[in-house]
C-alpha cells in the first residue's frame, strides 16, 4: 500500500513539475497574431489558392482597393480614373481607354522605385498563360493594348466599351519586375519564383508594396510580417503581424480564449455564439459574397426525369416546396437572408419576384404537369417513371445538412430524392474526366459559384450561356445544368459593354429578371464573413473597416491599433 502510494505520488509530481514548473514566455504587446485556418503552399499572386491571396494584403497592395462599403479608394495611383477626370476615354471604335497615374515616390520593400514598367511586366505575364499559371479571367480577350507613357503613367486600351475597368481586368502593379524578370528569362515562367516560397520568405527575397514585409515562414506553424520601412501609407499600428495556422475550428476558438491568437476570422455562423462568449472578444460580421444555391439541371439532363425538369412549372414546384427562409435561419443563423438572384443585390430590380415557400402551389403545379402518385407509394410518377431527384453536393457538412432538410421538404409533396454527397473533385471535375456537373449526370446540386460583388456583368458565357454546355466537341464549358436563354446572353453582353450607368443598370435588371425566370438557380443563403478580435489587444474601433470581397480581408490592417 505504501509503495503504491509512493508510485502515484512520484507520477503526480512528474506531471505537475512539467505543467507548472516551466515558466511561460512573456508576450510582446505590439505583435498581432491572426489565426489562419489553412496554410497556403505559396504566396503566389492572383493565386488559385485563396488563402495565399488573402496574405498578399499584408505585403503586396495594388493600384486601388475597396472598403467595407464597397467604395473604391486609390492605393498606388494618384486618383481613380474616370470620365470626369479625363483618364477614361471612349475611342472612335467605342473601345475604352484607361490612363493610370502612379503616385510619385512609391518604393518596393527593398527600396527600388516602382514604375510603370512593373505594371507592364505584369501585363506581359497575364497575357501569356505559359509565363505563369494563375487566374487571369477574361483579361487576355478584353485588353487590346498596354502602353507605357512615362515612368509613372501608362494606359490600357480594351477591345470594347468596358465599364468594369475598376473591378475586372484592371492593371496590376503589385509585383516587382526587377525580381521577377530574371526568373522569367531563366525559366520561362514565374511559377517557381523564390519570392513566393517559404525559402524565399526566410531568405528575405519576398519583395512587395505593402505595410508589411514577409520575413519568416515556419512551415506548418506561421508566417511573420514585419513593418515595411519603405511603405508610404499609414504606419502600421502593430509592428509585427503573425498568421498562425490552426486547422481545427474548436482549437481556433480555444486559442483566442487562451490569448494565443488575437484574431479569428471566416468561421462558420454556428460558432458565432461561442466566440461571443470568449472573455474580451468582440465579434463582428461583414456582408459576404459566398453562399450556396440549389442548381437544377434542366437543359443538359439525360436522366429519367429530364422531361420533368425541362418543365419550368416542375422546377417552380421543386423550389416552392422548400422553406428556404426557415432553413437559412435554422441551419445558418438568425437573420440570414436568402438571395433572390445570383447577381449582387445592389443591381436587383426592386420588384424582383422569387418563389416563396408554398406547398399548395408546389402540389398544384406538379398535379397540373401530370406528376401524380398513381400507385399510392407516396411518390409522384408519370408514364411509369417515379419523380426521384438525383441530388448531389460536396462533402461540406452544411451542404449535406441542407441536402437532408430539402429532401424532407420534397418528400412532403411526393418527390423522392437520392442524396449523393461526393468529394468536390468528383462533382467539379471537367467533362473529359466525367465530372458530375459537366456531364449533366445530376438533377439537382448544392454548391456555390461566386459572382463579382462589384459588377452586374455576369461575364460567364461558359457558365450560363447556350454555348457553354459541355460536350465531347466542346468539353471546356461549365454550364452543366444547361441553362440557355438567348435573351439573357444578349442582355448580359449589353451589360458588359454599356458605359452609361443608368442605362447599364436598366439592362442589368432586365438580364437579372431573365436569369431568375429560368428557375434553375435558387439561393439558399448568403453567409457573412465573421471576425472575432481580442479587445485587450486591439482597439475595436480601428479594426472594423475590413474588406468585403473575396480577397481583400485585412486590406486596411495597417490602421488597426493596439488597445489603449
Amino acid at each position: 500500500m505504501k509503495r503504491t502510494a509512493r508510485f502515484i505520488l512520484v507520477a503526480l509530481v512528474m506531471v505537475l513539475s512539467l505543467s507548472v514548473g516551466i515558466s511561460a514566455t512573456a508576450q510582446d504587446g505590439n505583435v498581432l497574431v491572426i489565426g489562419w485556418e489553412q496554410e497556403p503552399p505559396l504566396l503566389t499572386p492572383r493565386s488559385d489558392l485563396a488563402f495565399a491571396s488573402l496574405l498578399t494584403n499584408f505585403y503586396a497592395r495594388d493600384v486601388w482597393n475597396w472598403d467595407v462599403n464597397r467604395q473604391i479608394y486609390p492605393v498606388m495611383v494618384e486618383e481613380i480614373p474616370s470620365p470626369e477626370n479625363g483618364m477614361v476615354e471612349t475611342l472612335e471604335n467605342g473601345a475604352t481607354k484607361v490612363t493610370y497615374k502612379l503616385r510619385e515616390g512609391l518604393l518596393w520593400s527593398d527600396g527600388e522605385a516602382i514604375t510603370s514598367a512593373d505594371c507592364a511586366f505584369w501585363h506581359e505575364v497575364t497575357m501569356d498563360p505559359t509565363k505563369g499559371t494563375f487566374q487571369r479571367g477574361s483579361y487576355p480577350e478584353v485588353v487590346a493594348s498596354f502602353d507605357v507613357i512615362d515612368d509613372l503613367t501608362f494606359s490600357m486600351t480594351y477591345t470594347t466599351p468596358f465599364p468594369d475597368y475598376t473591378s475586372q481586368s484592371t492593371a496590376t502593379c503589385g509585383y516587382p519586375e526587377h525580381i521577377l524578370r530574371p526568373i522569367l528569362e531563366a525559366e520561362g515562367t514565374i511559377d517557381n519564383a523564390a519570392m513566393f516560397t517559404p525559402d524565399g520568405v526566410n531568405a528575405g527575397a519576398t519583395v512587395g508594396y505593402g505595410p508589411y514585409i514577409a520575413t519568416e515562414w515556419i512551415v506548418g506553424e506561421s508566417i511573420r510580417f514585419e513593418a515595411n520601412p519603405n511603405w508610404d501609407g499609414a504606419a502600421p499600428g502593430f509592428s509585427t503581424v503573425i498568421a498562425r495556422f490552426i486547422l481545427d475550428s474548436a482549437q481556433m476558438q480555444n486559442a483566442l480564449a487562451a490569448g494565443e491568437i488575437d484574431v479569428a476570422f471566416n468561421f462558420s455562423d454556428d460558432l458565432v455564439e461561442g466566440y461571443q462568449a470568449v472573455e474580451g472578444a468582440e465579434v463582428f460580421g461583414t456582408p459576404g459574397v459566398f453562399g450556396d444555391a440549389i442548381w437544377l439541371n434542366y437543359g443538359n439532363n439525360r436522366g429519367p426525369i429530364a422531361s420533368a425538369l425541362a418543365d419550368v412549372n416542375v422546377r417552380t414546384a421543386l423550389i416552392a416546396a422548400i422553406d428556404r427562409a426557415t432553413l437559412a435561419e435554422q441551419l445558418i443563423g438568425p437573420g440570414t437572408g436568402v438571395p433572390k438572384a445570383w447577381h449582387p443585390e445592389a443591381f436587383w430590380p426592386e420588384d424582383l419576384e422569387t418563389i416563396g415557400y408554398d406547398v399548395d402551389l408546389a402540389n398544384s403545379l406538379l398535379d397540373a404537369a401530370g406528376w401524380v402518385d398513381s400507385d399510392g407509394d407516396g411518390l409522384r410518377d408519370k408514364d411509369g417513371v417515379a419523380l426521384i431527384i438525383r441530388f448531389f453536393t460536396t462533402d461540406r457538412q452544411i451542404r449535406k445538412d441542407y441536402q437532408i432538410a430539402i429532401a424532407e421538404y420534397w418528400s412532403a409533396v411526393g418527390i423522392g430524392s437520392q442524396l449523393l454527397p461526393v468529394p468536390a473533385g468528383i462533382l467539379f471535375a471537367d467533362y473529359l474526366e466525367r465530372g458530375i456537373l459537366d456531364t449533366g449526370d445530376f438533377d439537382a446540386a448544392i454548391f456555390a459559384l461566386s459572382a463579382s460583388a462589384l459588377s452586374p456583368y455576369a461575364d460567364a458565357p461558359d457558365w450560363f450561356g447556350c454555348d457553354g454546355i459541355p460536350s465531347a466537341e466542346d468539353p471546356n464549358g461549365n454550364n452543366g445544368w444547361g441553362s440557355c436563354s438567348p435573351e439573357f446572353d444578349a442582355l448580359d453582353l449589353q451589360v458588359g459593354s454599356t458605359v452609361d450607368p443608368a442605362e447599364r443598370l436598366a439592362i442589368a435588371q432586365e438580364a437579372i429578371r431573365e436569369f431568375v425566370g429560368e428557375q434553375f438557380w435558387h439561393g439558399l443563403y448568403l453567409r457573412q464573413t465573421w471576425y472575432a478580435i481580442n479587445t485587450n489587444v486591439i482597439d475595436p474601433a480601428t479594426a472594423k473597416d475590413v474588406g468585403t470581397l473575396s480577397a481583400n480581408y485585412f486590406n486596411k490592417i495597417e490602421l488597426w491599433q493596439p488597445a489603449s
Binding site: T4, F7, A11, V15, L18, S19, V20, I22, A24, T25, Q27, D28, V33, E39, P41, L42, R46, D48, P129, T130, T133, F134, Q135, R136, G137, G188, D191, N192, V219, G220, E221, I242, R244, F245, I246, L247, A250, Q251, N254, A255, A257, A258, G259, E260, E279, P423, A424, G425, I426, L427, F428, A429, D430, E433, G435, L437, L449, S450, A460, D462
Partner: protein
C-alpha cells in the same frame, strides 16, 4: 535465419506492389486536385491544362502510375500548349528514390523535403508519448498484476476502460478545456497568474523564443492525450501477461528458493512477460513515423499527421503515395525485426 530474412524480404515485393497499386487508384477517388478551379470564373481552361500538364495529371491513370514508378525524364511535356511536348520531364520516379512533388497541399515542394521537415516534429511528439506510455504502462500493469483485485487494481481497471473507450479528440479537447482555457479563467478570477496554464496548440508560442522550455510546455497536452489512451490499453496487456507469468511454476520455484519479491518480479517475471511486448512495440513503430493524424490536427502540431490531413482534401496523390509507401515499408521491415528479435530473445523459437 539468413534464408528466412531473405525469403521475407522477397515476399515483401509483391505485397508492396499490390499496396501501391491499390493506394494509387484510391488516391484518385477524391477526384482531380484542380477540379475546384471549375468554381472560379477567373480560371481559364489553359491555366488548368498547364497546371495539370506540369504535374502529369493530363496523363491517363496507368501512365501516371508508371511515371510515379520510373519518372518522366524520358519524355517531353507540352508546357507551351502547342500540342507537342517540348519540355523534358524532371521526375525520376520512386524506384530511383524520387517521391515526386506535392500537387496541392504544398504545391511544388519535393515530398522528400516535406518529410524531412515534418518527421522530426512527429518523432518528438510520438517518441515522447511512446516513452511515457511504456514507462507508465509497465509500472501500472506490473503493480496491478502483483496487487491483483486490490483497490489499486480495481481503480486502474475502471479508469483504463473509460479512457480506452474515449476517442482521442475528446480526450484532447477536454484536456485543453481544463488545463488551458478554464485554467486561465479561474486564475484570472482569483487574481492568479494565468501564464502557468498550458498552451492550446502548436510546438512553440509564436511570440516566444522557441526555447526548450516552450517545447516542453507545448508537448504536455498532446503527449498526455495520446499516452492516456495508450497507457490504458498497454497496462491491461502487461497486467494480463504478468499474471500469466507470476502464476507459473518457475516463479513458484523462485519463491520457494527464497528470492525476494522484487527480484522475482523484475528479473524473472517481467523478463518473460515482456516478450510479447516486443511484437507490439515493433508493430507500433511504423505508425509512430506516420504521426498522429487527429492529435496533430487538434494541436496544430506541424508533423506528418497534419501534413497527411492536408494531403487528403483536395487529393495530393504524390504525397498520399509517399505516406503509404513509407508506412507499408516500415510495417514490413519492423515486422521482420520483431520476428528476428523474438527468436533471439526466446531460444525456443526457431525459423526453419
Amino acid at each position: 535465419m539468413t534464408k528466412y530474412v531473405v525469403q521475407r524480404l522477397l515476399q515483401a515485393i509483391p505485397l508492396l506492389t499490390i499496396v501501391t497499386i491499390v493506394v494509387f487508384s484510391l488516391s484518385f477517388a477524391g477526384g482531380n486536385p484542380f477540379a475546384y478551379l471549375a468554381q472560379d470564373p477567373r480560371a481559364r481552361p489553359e491555366d488548368k491544362f498547364l497546371l495539370q500538364e506540369k504535374y502529369g495529371l493530363n496523363d491517363s491513370i496507368p501512365v501516371q502510375f508508371v511515371t510515379w514508378l520510373i519518372g518522366d525524364d524520358w519524355r517531353l511535356r507540352d508546357l507551351n500548349m502547342d500540342g507537342v511536348g517540348e519540355t523534358p520531364g524532371e521526375r525520376q520516379g520512386i524506384l530511383r528514390g524520387d517521391f515526386g512533388e506535392s500537387v496541392s497541399a504544398f504545391r511544388g515542394k519535393e515530398v522528400s523535403r516535406i518529410f524531412a521537415e515534418r518527421m522530426p516534429n512527429t518523432l518528438i511528439l510520438m517518441v515522447t508519448q511512446y516513452v511515457v506510455t511504456i514507462v507508465f504502462a509497465l509500472g501500472i500493469g506490473i503493480l496491478a498484476a502483483i496487487r491483483q483485485y486490490s483497490w489499486f487494481d480495481n481503480m486502474v481497471t475502471s479508469i483504463s476502460f473509460v479512457l480506452y473507450a474515449m476517442p482521442v479528440f475528446l480526450v484532447a479537447l477536454l484536456l485543453v478545456q481544463v488545463f488551458a482555457v478554464q485554467c486561465r479563467e479561474v486564475l484570472r478570477a482569483v487574481g492568479g497568474d494565468p501564464s502557468i496554464c498550458l498552451p492550446v496548440q502548436g510546438m512553440y508560442d509564436v511570440r516566444g523564443d522557441r526555447s526548450f522550455d516552450e517545447l516542453l510546455r507545448h508537448l504536455i497536452l498532446p503527449v498526455v492525450s495520446l499516452a492516456a489512451i495508450n497507457i490504458a490499453g498497454y497496462s491491461r496487456y502487461i497486467r494480463s501477461t504478468m499474471l500469466e507469468v507470476i502464476n507459473s511454476d518457475y516463479i513458484r520455484t523462485a519463491r520457494s528458493k527464497g528470492l525476494t519479491e522484487r527480484r522475482i518480479t523484475f528479473l524473472h517475471a517481467l523478463k518473460n512477460a515482456s516478450l510479447p511486448l516486443v511484437t507490439i512495440i515493433a508493430l507500433d513503430i511504423p505508425f509512430l513515423l506516420g504521426g498522429a493524424v487527429i492529435t496533430e490536427t487538434i494541436f496544430s502540431w506541424p508533423g506528418m499527421g497534419l501534413a497527411f490531413i492536408n494531403a487528403v482534401q483536395p487529393a495530393d496523390p504524390p504525397l498520399l503515395m509517399a505516406f503509404t509507401v513509407m508506412t507499408a515499408v516500415a510495417v514490413v521491415f519492423f515486422q521482420l525485426v520483431a520476428d528476428v528479435l523474438y527468436s533471439w530473445l526466446d531460444p525456443r523459437i526457431r525459423y526453419n
